[in-house]
C-alpha cells in the first residue's frame, strides 16, 4: 500500500502503472479522482486551502486501507491526497485499487473514499468573493460512510 500527502499534482496513468507494475494477477483497476469545483454550497470558489494533521493523516488513511483489505480481495491500494493551495479544476485526491476482479476493486475504492471523507484529518478553507470560509462537513458524507457497516 502507498499513502502520499503532497502539494504537487499527480498523474493518474503513471501512478496506476506504478501500482500494477510487474503484477500480471491484476485484472481490474478501480480509481477515483476528486476535483475542486468552482461552486460549493451555492457560493463561487476562487481558490481553496487544504490543511491537514501531519502524521495522523497518514495513519488514518493506512487504517482505512487496512479495513478495506480485510473486507475485500484486493491486490494493492494507492491513496494520494494534496494539501496547500488549490484552484477550481485542480485534482485533490486519487484512490486507486487493483484486484483480480472488478467487484472487489470497485467496492474497496468507494469504501476508502467514503471513509476518507469522514475520518482522515483534512480541512478545506474556501476563498470566495464574499471572503474566506471553512467548508462545513456534510451529513451526506456521514451517511455514505455509515452505510458500509451494513453491506458487504
Amino acid at each position: 500500500m502507498t499513502v502520499r500527502i503532497q502539494t504537487a499534482d499527480f498523474d493518474a496513468s503513471a501512478e496506476i502503472a506504478a501500482l500494477r507494475r510487474g503484477n500480471p494477477k491484476v485484472g481490474a483497476v478501480a480509481s477515483f479522482i476528486g476535483v475542486v469545483r468552482d461552486v460549493n454550497d451555492g457560493g463561487t470558489v476562487a481558490e481553496m486551502t487544504l490543511e491537514h494533521y501531519p502524521g495522523m493523516t497518514e495513519k488514518a488513511i493506512e487504517e482505512i486501507i487496512d479495513q478495506a483489505r480485510s473486507r475485500w480481495n484486493v491486490l494493492d491500494v494507492l491513496v494520494i491526497h494534496r494539501v496547500g493551495q488549490l484552484k477550481p479544476m485542480d485534482q485533490i485526491v486519487l484512490v486507486a485499487v487493483t484486484g483480480a476482479h472488478r467487484g472487489d476493486a470497485f467496492a474497496a475504492c468507494e469504501f476508502i473514499m467514503d471513509y476518507l471523507k469522514t475520518r482522515a484529518p483534512f480541512w478545506k478553507k474556501e476563498q470566495t468573493p464574499q471572503g474566506t470560509r471553512w467548508v462545513e462537513a456534510r451529513v451526506s458524507d456521514d451517511i455514505a460512510a455509515e452505510r458500509w457497516r451494513f453491506k458487504g
Binding site: G34, L50, E51, H52, Y53, G55, M56, K59, A60, H81, I92, V93, M113, L116, K117, T118, R119, A120, P121, F122, W123, K124, K125, W134, V135, E136, A137, R138
Partner: protein, 84 residues
Amino acid sequence: MITVLYFARLREALGTGSERIALPQNVHDLEGLRALLIERGGAWKQELAPGKPVRAAVNQAMAQDDTRVADGDEVAFFPPVTGG
C-alpha cells in the same frame, strides 16, 4: 505535560495551533481535558462548549469523551473533517 494541537477553524478561533499543558491530577480523559479548556472562558468556552461539532484525537487516533489522556500524550481538537 501533554501536547495539545488545534486545527482549521478551531486553530483560528483560539488563536493558537499548539500548546503544552500540565495535566491536573483530576483530569484523566478527553472529557476532563475539554472541561479544563472551557474553564478558560472566552473563545475557549464558546468553541469547545458541549454540543459544538468538535472532534478529537489522542496520539493521532480518533478519540471519544472517555478516551484516557495521560502525561506525554499528544491530543488534538478539530472540526469535523472535510477532505477528499
